[in-house]
Amino acid sequence: MTVKQLSVFAQNKPGRISALTKLLAENGVNIRAISVADTKDFGILRLIVSDIDKAKAALKDNAVVQSSKVLAVIAEDTPGGLASIMEALYAANVSVEYMYSAFLNPSENNACLILRVDNNDNAVSALKEAGFRLLSQEDMAKI
């Protein structure tokens, strides 16, 4: 079970994130998670949104957009919550390329993490086996 992430290439210049997020707002797309990776000359905006098709259509004429599959996993909001997820992935020989946290919480005691790993299938089965809950694409619109 994976969710789709949008990656948007953005040059480092004032107003760029403002313009991109405004486009999403105008098209009624809710941002459920976002991270910005940056270098000297450019950045990559990574987004999980409520409606991926709408978001793509809104951005396609104004940006370079790519979609990829990532995991949205629920972590307990207690000490060791993240560590146990990482432990399960490490045991299954899965590497995490990057991660960030989402704005959605299924309950007060949870946090949602977005993970990009080198092998989605192995990661999904390892996490499920260890009893973690993964969110689906539908959840991104619902929760």
Binding site: Q5, S7, F9, A10, Q11, A37, T39, D41, F42, I44, R46, N62, A63, V64, V65, Q66, S68, E97, R116
Partner: protein
Amino acid sequence: MAKYWNEEIETMDYESMKKLQSERLVRQVRHVYDNVPYYKNLMDERGVTPDDIKGIEDLHKLPFISKADLRDNYPDGLLAVPKSECVRIHATSGTTGKRAIAFYTAKDIDIWDDCVARAITAAGGTKEDVVHIAYGYGLFTGGLGLHGGSHKVGCLTLPVSSGNTERQIQFMQDLGSTILCCTPSYAAYIGETVAEMGLSPDDLTLKAGIFGAEPWTEEMRRSIEKSLGIKAYDIYGLTETSGPGVAFECECQTGMHINEDNFIAEIIDPDTGEVLPEGSKGELVFTSITKEAFPLLRYRTRDICILTREKCKCGRTLVKMTKPMGRSDDMLIIKGVNVFPSQIETVLLRDFGATPNYQIVVDRVGTTDTFEIKIELSDNMFDDTIRSIEALEKKLSADIVQILGIRAKISLVEPKSIPRSEGKAVRVIDKRKLV
């Protein structure tokens, strides 16, 4: 101190020069027609035979030849003597697709050296001088061209080539270099390094510099002269006709005298090919009338300039050309290397399977050219990670170095961020103020 290397030629009255040129032209056209099938075809197609060329007044009857013809005849299709008669080759800078090879017989080299000797003499050089050659040696004509001329004059010749600037300056001090030969940008860099090393022009024995192979301004000349304590002379040439020394500057520094006993110069309208009268601005065309191995008739240089026969105070009667004021094609000279946008397109096409929108931005910071290629990223060139974008930039950068021989800064930019005029992307922005 001799003022001229070859006084008879350099101060010859125009009528005698025309006579000399005519004799040589008639002979050269016959040589080319008989020995280069490609030329014979070109002339036959135009209905011109060697008998129609009785003197320089008939020059306009001959077809032009261009870089494309050279490319089509790569590597030796235009060779006019058996290869066994040749003693050397040189090639135009940098480029895979557009490289042109020039062949030389021993006599060609001797005439070339003679042309360069005139330039060195005009810059005040005699056999007492120590000529420091910091042009690159190799296929590039700069190093060996000045080297040969310096030998001819009898100067002590230091074949230092380019690079390792502090060592160059050390040599200048230890060996008492008096004339520096290199590209103007390298001369400026040497000047800066001298200052950085805590030295002043008085610590050097340089008196003159002969600089060419790339465009430079009058301001740059003054700044080089000041930083090295020298008088700076311009020199012009192109590999296709021989190399540096096709034209050279005298002490008046008001344009370059063309060695017209070897090269007939014409100025044409680049669009119509019509020959323009003296004093008009247009494209420079050369006919090499003494070259044996690789003679070119009416070669279009693509350099835009003006010719003048106004009396020069130095006493030379050789026609003078202005510094090239631009190009009639899209070639750029960056860091002394010829760059065609089409070469960059070739790289992009190969790496992406299509040509994305791109823009070349050239500028000069201090005395060094900067070279940036902006490329509009598209969806299929991007896959979410910074790593992959950096790998793409690195690959492009390596491919550009391979094809051009110089490094460019690659900047991937967002779609539609390269400005377009009337829907067409502006391919080249040259911010250098060179004219």
